[in-house]
């Protein structure tokens, strides 16, 4: 029995994501689905662990669209259901989302989106809250882990009150922050799933359904007017009113305390961000002439409140606004305590109190600190794959390039992947782009394009591109990097791994079978065989028609957990010629595995025993055969 599935409440140290999971369990959630994506992955992982002790169902779906559709089905059948994803997942579900709000729900349905301000682990920086407005969906934003538990739990009630989906939005700084929380009781649902055939879920007539959806929103608004999730702290007539939603409230509260602005600044924390509780806002808009907005990432709350203020007109009066639109708050990136303190300093004309120490240190350090670039782990098969791809493209010499996709192998855009990948955007978009490149030959395009896609990515969104290529005759060469894991997000299972989120063994869906039945030429090989892989790629590049090369080799970290690699590595200093012509410290300078380091005193390369995983493939890159691979003795 884990802490999460403990039925009785108590004090616990929970991550934001764990708190969301706990809140859902306390609400008696029955059906949970999602797709891995930082910073959301721990929600489903936590629920999957709880599924060992509680009668709930949890799955990793093939993509977010299916996850949300599956959860919605559970809701239609009267179960409380949850779908969890990162911001990009909401993009993926958007067509279904914007339709299903028109036809309503039954059992409480909560959509959790975890956004990643500053794109710390994302390809973009995006604010999924805007979907709430576009879809007419109530939106809740917890600022703390405690609120996350309570809001998630309450979200199911709200959803059932208005009979529509509710969005709960978290950000990385909340999802991955651990704090002491008070948990409540877990209730188990005894609802028997049942689909009432007299109440179908369709969206016609469209306009009437749209109006009905808006009425539900009004209903939610009325409930929000008295919600205890919206709080005010501060003087009755502050000089500055800070209206915040989500995590930045913490920074504002601490800044007020540290800068002793308690008499001057009022903090209105909005937890029910959409629809706006208009009467509540009118009340507080009146108490100050200076209004500041703190939120991430877009000026969502800001725009909506200003629009409301304009509508209220003289009832609230003319205001001076400090926000993203005025330039007081940065329009991109995440907020920090330091940034908020600086904004307060500017508004109140206070001297910056920490500037001098920072300036002093910055001057001392100047630019002496090398950036720490991201890289593939030692033993990563992607390093081998990109090395083979780079070699083959060079041999081919037609200015070919790689079209990329989402996963650990996205790092192919950086030196760790030899800068091979020239575009990355969304799940499966690599194969879509390939369909474009693959039809440009008639206009004189003669550069070969290699599309790389991971195993999980292929299942998620790569298949339609391949079908299209076959159907429309696009010349696609797809290399699927199959490391048998959804690695970047934490090794979650996917249809090819043969095991589910809840740990059940299942028959794996074989990628090569899918590709063959689509009609592609399929080959499978081990990327650790560097030369052979490069030769195969080179050969396949000369062919036409849809070709799939599956480079199959387990993720090094997964291999590490399953006993590791079989080799002890070392460099023979008598054979290593270091920087001399004939080598030019090729292993450290070009191959760039962190297990290989340079000793500038001896002028030779060495294996870093602490880092080296023992995969042994670097043996094949040394021009002097100075890297020695020995089998480990048991």
């Amino acid at each position: 029995m884990t802490m999460i599935s403990e039925k009785t409440g108590g004090i616990a140290l929970l991550q934001g994501n764990e708190s969301i999971a706990r809140g859902a369990l306390e609400a008696g959630v029955t059906f949970c689905a999602g797709y891995p994506g930082n910073p959301s992955s721990e929600i489903i992982e936590t629920l999957a662990k709880a599924a060992k002790d509680l009668p709930i169902y949890v799955e990793w779906s093939v993509n977010e669209k299916v996850a949300f559709e599956a959860a919605t089905a559970a809701s239609y059948a009267g179960c409380r259901a949850l779908a969890s994803m990162k911001q990009n997942g909401v993009n993926v579900i958007s067509d279904f989302l914007l339709n299903m709000t028109m036809s309503g729900t039954n059992g409480g349905l909560v959509l959790i989106t975890c956004d990643d301000p500053a794109g710390i682990s994302s390809t973009n920086e995006e604010d999924a809250r805007l979907f709430a407005r576009m879809g007419g969906i109530p939106l809740l934003e917890p600022a703390t882990a405690q609120e996350a538990i309570e809001m998630t739990k309450w979200a199911f009630e709200l959803s059932e009150a208005i009979k529509n989906v509710v969005i709960l939005r978290s950000v990385s700084r909340l999802s991955h922050t651990r704090s002491s929380v008070q948990t409540g009781l877990i209730t188990l649902s005894d609802a028997q799933p049942f689909f009432d055939t007299s109440k179908p879920y369709h969206t016609f007539p469209v306009v009437a359904k749209h109006e009905a959806r808006n009425q539900k929103l009004d209903q939610a608004r009325e409930i929000f007017e008295t919600s205890h999730f919206n709080t005010y702290e501060g003087p009755e007539a502050p000089e500055l009113l800070v209206i915040s939603s989500g995590c930045p409230w913490n920074y504002a509260a601490e800044a007020v305390e540290l800068m002793e602005l308690g008499e001057k600044v009022g903090l209105l924390k909005i937890g029910t961000t959409w629809p706006l509780p208009v009467r509540l806002l009118e009340k507080y808009l009146k108490i100050s002439d200076k209004i500041m907005f703190l939120e991430e990432v877009e000026p969502f709350l800001e725009d909506n409140v200003k629009s409301l203020a304009a509508q209220l007109g003289h009832r609230v009066g003319v205001k001076t606004y400090y926000g993203k639109m005025s330039g007081a708050v940065p329009s991109c990136g995440e907020l920090t305590p330091g940034l908020v303190m600086k904004i307060f300093s500017d508004i109140f004309h206070l001297p910056g109190n920490t500037g001098t120490y920072k300036d002093e240190i910055d001057t001392m350090i100047a630019d002496k600190l090398p950036v720490r670039e991201f890289g593939f782990c030692p033993g990563c098969p992607h390093r081998a794959s990109f090395y083979a791809i780079k070699t083959a493209l060079a041999w081919d010499d037609r200015n070919g390039f790689v079209s990329g996709d989402i996963g650990c192998y996205t790092m192919g855009i950086w030196p760790t992947g030899f800068n091979q990948v020239k575009s990355v955007h969304a799940m499966g978009s690599g194969s879509g782009l390939a369909c474009g490149y693959g039809k440009l030959e008639r206009f004189g395009f003669d550069q070969p394009v290699i599309t790389v896609c991971g195993d999980s990515t292929f299942f998620h969104a790569g298949i339609p591109g391949l079908v299209n290529a076959k159907f429309n005759g696009a010349d696609i060469f797809l290399i699927i990097l199959d490391n048998s894991a959804t690695a970047m997000t934490g090794f979650q299972p996917h249809p090819g791994t043969g095991i589910t989120a809840m740990g059940d063994v299942t028959e794996p869906v074989l990628i090569e079978n899918i590709c063959r039945s689509i009609g592609a030429d399929v080959e499978v090989t081990d990327p650790y065989e560097l030369k052979e892989t490069a030769e195969r790629i080179y050969r396949l590049m000369k062919k036409t028609g849809p070709r799939v090369l599956i480079l199959r080799r387990k993720c090094a970290l997964v291999q590490g957990r399953e006993g590791g690699f079989p080799f002890n590595m070392h460099v023979d200093p008598n054979k290593c010629i270091g920087e001399d012509c004939g080598c030019g410290r090729y292993c450290t300078r070009i191959f760039r595995c962190p297990g290989l380091i340079w000793n500038s005193i001896t002028g030779k390369s060495e294996i870093d025993r602490v880092i080296c995983a023992g995969c042994g493939i670097c043996v094949d890159i040394c021009p002097q055969n100075a890297i020695i691979r020995e089998g480990k003795v048991e």
């Binding site: 041999w395 090729y586 021009p623």
Partner: protein, 343 residues
């Protein structure tokens, strides 16, 4: 992302390869991980940071600033010149003309004068490439002329890296020049060309760009494996290409656009720095022209003749005059173009 260096890879890439002058002799490939030879092209694989890199030092098209005016004329320094042909029917059946090169190399190997031979093989029906032959069968498999740049010296480099010595090498005049330059370069305390025991040069007027020529053949041939190329002596003006099923003839004017630009700067038709040089004998399909230049070459020939492996005959005067003229013409054309280029 090419790092600027003074005498190394950057200059080779800028002044020779990207300048269109590379003749694919292969001298820069096969020794280090920065250059590869594949399918008719020298490929830089990664930026090298070595300041003084041997690749630039030995490239036959690289100009290091010294004056290239040689005193040579005609067919260069030589001791004797013969018409020659093999007496071995197996060799003759595989040979382009007289089978002299194969005979001499097989003899040198079997006699123990060399331990292996760097030759050019036709590859597995794809493109020609350097090959290290270590048996009679190996050598025979490389019989027959190629007309494209084929990176043969990359096999020499691989052999040198593997520590092999007592190597024989058959190559074009550009490859002989690369080997001569190697003899002036020391690396890790060793003269780079020291392990080479025997050099046989092939006459050459020009060579074709393999990839361009291959595209042409793909469009114009039947796709079958090519078993022989031939350019019959003037005034024929054609290239003959033979597969198992067909024999096609193409006017040389269709083929000349594929001549490697670097070849047009070459002044050496007969491989003037080799031990022996071998080429066609105009007017004959079964004899070769054989030029003997060094003591080593002379000794080897004498041995082969004594064993009855080769038949030699007096070299006809008319052929000699033609050979001198052709050789001088190439020298003058090349010199003129080189001077033009350097203006």
């Amino acid at each position: 992302m090419i790092v600027q260096t003074s005498q190394g890879q950057t200059r080779l890439i800028n002044e020779v390869i990207n300048n269109g002058l590379c003749v694919r002799c292969g001298a820069c490939a096969g020794f280090c991980p920065y250059f590869d030879y594949i399918d008719g092209k020298i490929i830089p694989l990664a930026p090298c940071c070595s300041d003084t890199a041997r690749c630039f030092q030995i490239c036959p098209l690289a100009e290091h600033g010294e004056k290239n005016e040689s005193d040579e004329s005609g067919i260069g320094d030589y001791r004797k010149i013969f018409a020659a042909r093999s007496t071995d029917p197996e060799i003759v059946s595989r040979a382009q003309y007289g089978g002299v090169v194969s005979t001499l190399m097989i003899y040198a190997l079997e006699k123990g004068e060399i331990k292996a031979a760097v030759l050019t093989s036709r590859g597995n029906g794809s493109s020609p490439a350097g090959f290290l032959a270590e048996s009679r069968g190996d050598i025979l498999s490389c019989s027959g002329s190629e007309y494209t740049g084929s990176g043969g010296l990359s096999a020499l480099n691989r052999a040198l890296k593997a520590g092999k010595d007592m190597l024989g090498i058959v190559g074009l005049p550009c490859q002989m020049e690369a080997v001569r330059r190697m003899s002036m370069v020391e690396f890790s305390g060793e003269n780079l060309s020291a392990p080479i025991s025997l050099k046989i040069a092939l006459f050459c007027t020009w060579a074709l760009d393999h990839r361009a020529f291959d595209d042409f053949l793909v469009k114009n041939m039947d796709g079958g494996k090519i078993i022989k190329y031939d350019i019959p002596p003037p005034p024929s003006e054609k290239l003959v290409v033979q597969t198992l099923k067909r024999k096609m003839e193409y006017p040389l004017s269709d083929i000349r656009p594929f001549i490697q630009q670097g070849c047009l700067l070459c002044e050496d038709m007969t491989g003037e720095t080799a031990d022996l040089s071998v080429g066609t004998l105009e007017g004959s399909k079964s004899w070769n022209t054989l030029i003997v230049r060094t003591q080593r070459g002379e000794d080897l020939l004498a041995g082969a003749v004594k064993q009855g492996l080769l038949e030699v005959a007096e070299f006809p005067d008319e052929n000699f005059n033609h050979l001198m003229e052709a050789s001088e013409n190439k020298r003058n054309r090349g010199r003129k173009r080189r001077i033009e280029k350097n203006k």
